[in-house]
Amino acid sequence: MCGLLTRCVALHRGFARWRWALSGLVALALAALVLGAPGEVQAGASDTAVEATQPVAGSLAPAVIAPPELTAADYPSITGVNSRVTVWLVAQLHLWFAAFVLAVPIFVFIIEAIGMKTRDKRYDDMAYEFIKISITAYSLTAILGGLLLFSLIVLYPHLFSYLSRVFGESMFYYALLFFAESAALYLYYYGWQWLQGGFRKWLHLTVGLVLNAVGTTLMFLANGWVTFMMSPAGLDPAGMFAGDTWAAMHNYLWNPINLHRFIANIAYGGSIVGAYAAFRFLSATRPEERAHYDWMGYNANFIAILALLPLPFAGYYLAAEIYAYSQQMGITLMGGIFAWLFIIQAVLIGTLFLSANYYLWCGMGRSDGAVRYNRYIKYLAIAIIGSFLVWFTPHTLVLTNEELKALGGPYHKYLGPLGIMPAKNTAVNVMILFTALSFLFYRRSNRIATVAWVKAGNAAQLALYTAGIANLLFLGIYHGYFTNTVYKVAASIPQVMTTLIIIVVSITLDSVMYRGAREVAPLNWGRVPNRAQYALFLLAVAFTWLMGLMGYIRSGIRQHWHVTDVFRDASPDAYTPTLGYAANVVSMGTVLFMVLVIFVFWLSQVSSRKTPNDGFWKAP
């Protein structure tokens, strides 16, 4: 074990020095840009006297920053390189890796804490294995960040100049915070075996907390820049920025994106780690290995589902704030040219829920006591698949002219109504509820309750679910089809709350009911069919693709604006591409990401390989 660790450390030390250098380089680059940016008047820039460039020498007043009016000539191009696709892919790859390296410390911290509470070393070992996977990913995140920065500077210099003048200070802090992030991450990882036992373990956990705090702050800073582009704030009615960076950062969409990305990162991180575990499971040769990776995969899936459940609500909140900022933007998003994108999203989310549930159902086979629940699984499947079908039913149909005439309109007479939001909300709430129910069944599968009030408890659970589903249907159908828009939108809130209340109450009730429960038999970790592992891969691939799609919509909703309604995009690529095109770029990105992630996973096990000396070295 010691030898293994020494090898790990030796291999990573080389990378570590390089990462420090990269962090320093990024910090220097940003410093140079922020300090040196103002004052360049490039060829082809606007002739109007309105553009503020240099502050008057000797003046103390901050420059009022006007958004420039650009022309196509202001965008440098590299032959054979499509600027938009380049920045798009690099930004998305950066985001995928960043989501992963931010997510892993969150659940590693929690797992470590659980291990400390239960004194079960398996948790500690698993946490350590998770963080090991993310170390190389951290390098790639930094590389892609640097590449993104350079792409923006080279291909969109005016945009970056503008953004760096609005956000200069925060960009500086962002770069400097990476010293803290790196320090915390390396200390957390390299110090894992050293900081063991008693006070040192608490110290180690604190380092993990610091790591998470710094990582979250970094994400919040970057979120400010990107949401400013979507829903700018801190500008006067003429679009001029007068220096209030906090107002610019604290725009309409900042907190919704913060919340959504925080939760989504956890779900995503869980799915990537799950894919890692699934692959190690399939390639395992010994039963103990299979058992270990099966357990790891289960935990990863659990983390992914746990974060997946509240995610649609965070997404809904984000969309609601988009509407609040600009009705037009909101309508374009869901009722205009991007409406069909949400049908694609529905397919992807349905895939996620189906995979996660399928994995849980397959996993029930680990328990000898699961047989008694087998007959209920088909009902869960029917409910989830039914909801998925409702969710992905479009409002407007894909029809030829003849079909349009025959049908008398673009909507199906009976299925069309399922295409509107209230039906979708009901469907997703039902999916979430039944996923929680799957999880409850899984938990129960290996235990027999010993409390006296089991029958009562079960009756209560059943009643809770029945009342809840009835309420969801009432809110969805009555308010969805017999009232107006304002009521329809408002009714989605009690729907959300119903689902969340049921989940919390039922899990609490179940925990109490199964206190002191008898185990049927020890869980047979490793006794799970190979196809269950494919469900984990599907989870990871679908999540990645979905994130890519949502990245497209986040950026695409700005259409031909760099900063909505303020700074117009005058580049040759300013047009909004078709969804098919966007899907192709996202697919390309997903494949690239997969290749890089495979490299990351492979690397994490390379360090444990040792080739014996066969005469290469001189005899001592």
């Binding site: 009562a456 009756a459 009643a463 009342a467 309420n471 709350m497």
Partner: protein
């Protein structure tokens, strides 16, 4: 009574239904609306 599952089911069902309805009314009221739509 605690062991009469069907009875407990009905009681809990009614109780939960009322609670959920109360929740609906409270949330709609907070938004300046009523539970039922009066055009």
């Amino acid at each position: 009574m605690m062991n009469n599952a069907p009875l407990l089911f009905v009681i809990t069902l009614v109780a939960c239904a009322l609670l959920f309805l109360g929740l609906d009314m409270a949330v709609m009221k907070l938004n300046g609306l009523t539970l039922l739509y009066h055009p």
